[in-house]
Subunit: 296 residues, 2 copies
Amino acid sequence: MELLDGQLVSKTIKEGLKLKVGQLIAEGKKVPHLAAVLVGDNGASETYVGAKVKACAEIGYKSTLLRLEEDISESRLLGIIEELNNDIDVDGILVQLPLPKHISDEKVINTIHPSKDVDGFHPVNVGKMVQGLPTFISATPHGILLLLEHYKIDTKGKHAVVVGRSNIVGRPMSILLSSNTPTGNCTVTICHSHTRNLPEICREADIIVAALGKPGFVKADMVKKGAVIIDVGITRVPDAAKKSGFALKGDVKFDEVAPHSSYITPVPGGVGPMTIAALMKNTFMACEERSGGSLI
Amino acid sequence: MELLDGQLVSKTIKEGLKLKVGQLIAEGKKVPHLAAVLVGDNGASETYVGAKVKACAEIGYKSTLLRLEEDISESRLLGIIEELNNDIDVDGILVQLPLPKHISDEKVINTIHPSKDVDGFHPVNVGKMVQGLPTFISATPHGILLLLEHYKIDTKGKHAVVVGRSNIVGRPMSILLSSNTPTGNCTVTICHSHTRNLPEICREADIIVAALGKPGFVKADMVKKGAVIIDVGITRVPDAAKKSGFALKGDVKFDEVAPHSSYITPVPGGVGPMTIAALMKNTFMACEERSGGSLI
């Protein structure tokens, strides 16, 4: 069993980007600028946005964090996004989800200009991803592909089982893994709450992507010997022993599944840091495309 | 075994649309108008476009067929599409594929305004389909869903195997069948040229969608007793006994597979006519949305 060390790979990617930023500065060019929008004060969202802003600082990107009140009106938020769309210095815009209930995620996502949509959530970017055209691939699936690539995990002809069909992870993962690309060409089975015989289906998998958000859902008896395990789950579970009062739990029972696997991501330290690395890559690409004058 | 009679269901749908057109006329409203663009003189394309124009006439839609020379320049074609985009009388635009090699399919598709893209090929419409938002679902997958719906075939929790990952059929079919909708909620396995053990995977399927374009590929020993078989293939195979000199062959060996199946589509007369019915539904929707002033 080998650990898919997202922390390490993410660090490598970020160091690579830092070098590139150094080059940009040396050439007197603009450095990438990410604008992050955080509405309200959800603890997990604070952590995620904080990690993204920190990553920008490490790499040498400019970042702007807009903290907005929980009760901001939808139209005001959309107006702020329009301002960011029109701000020629801003390359990438991310609006941390979830948003308060009175604001439509869909409207917000559709308002971000596709050329600045570094989260890859805008329908036109999703459509391009489906069609195999160059675009922003959303950060978590993109991060997983970077991890598979780094560890040279052969995907061609493998059977991947994706558990979960969310727009953010499961759905794009199932599309990307089955696409005709170097980290694709898997036969992919996508499973969800209506799937029957899920343990049986998982046992057939060479690669399992668990993205359902149920801590410890994937157990040893659901995993074929030698399978590759990608655990996307990251749920806060109360834990009195921790200073924060909670522990982060993945969708996979790591201790019992790891010995069966060939490769496995830990939680934390697996997919999480890769998501940030992928977002940083997307932001660099956004800056590059915009500097080149060719908006995606 | 029951035949999924696309000819009959398509007729029913078209009759329903004809009644609606009658209402529009009675109310003094605009009738739907489909503009079809045919470049060059590919025999199969001629047939397909001809069938679409004929369906418009049957239902009472207005249609415009633009026949363009094989050697038309890409920029001229894009200009013509822009004219159709700007023509307030035109509700739907379809450009028959394939196009001559010197013209980029991608550019042509991206030029059609999403609100007139009744083929559902524009990335923004594909993205909306993936995200489960209201949009034009491309005609063949949409037609297959209408067929499943008509025959009240229960899809929830069923295992569907989609053979083929084309942007036009296999890929959207795999997404739609696994989405959280009345004709979805299947566990879906998407297979392609790199899939190993395809016969074995097919034998596990409750529903097989064969969309690879290889005549007679799916044989009796690949099908579980009682499976639902959707044959999307439609290949012209030389046949001296036919006046046209060719016969249309599906991807499924109908004679040997039919006795194993619970439902099966014939070729021709299955998915083909449903594709046209779905296109007609999309065109009606385009007209309705545009008349309502709410462009999709």
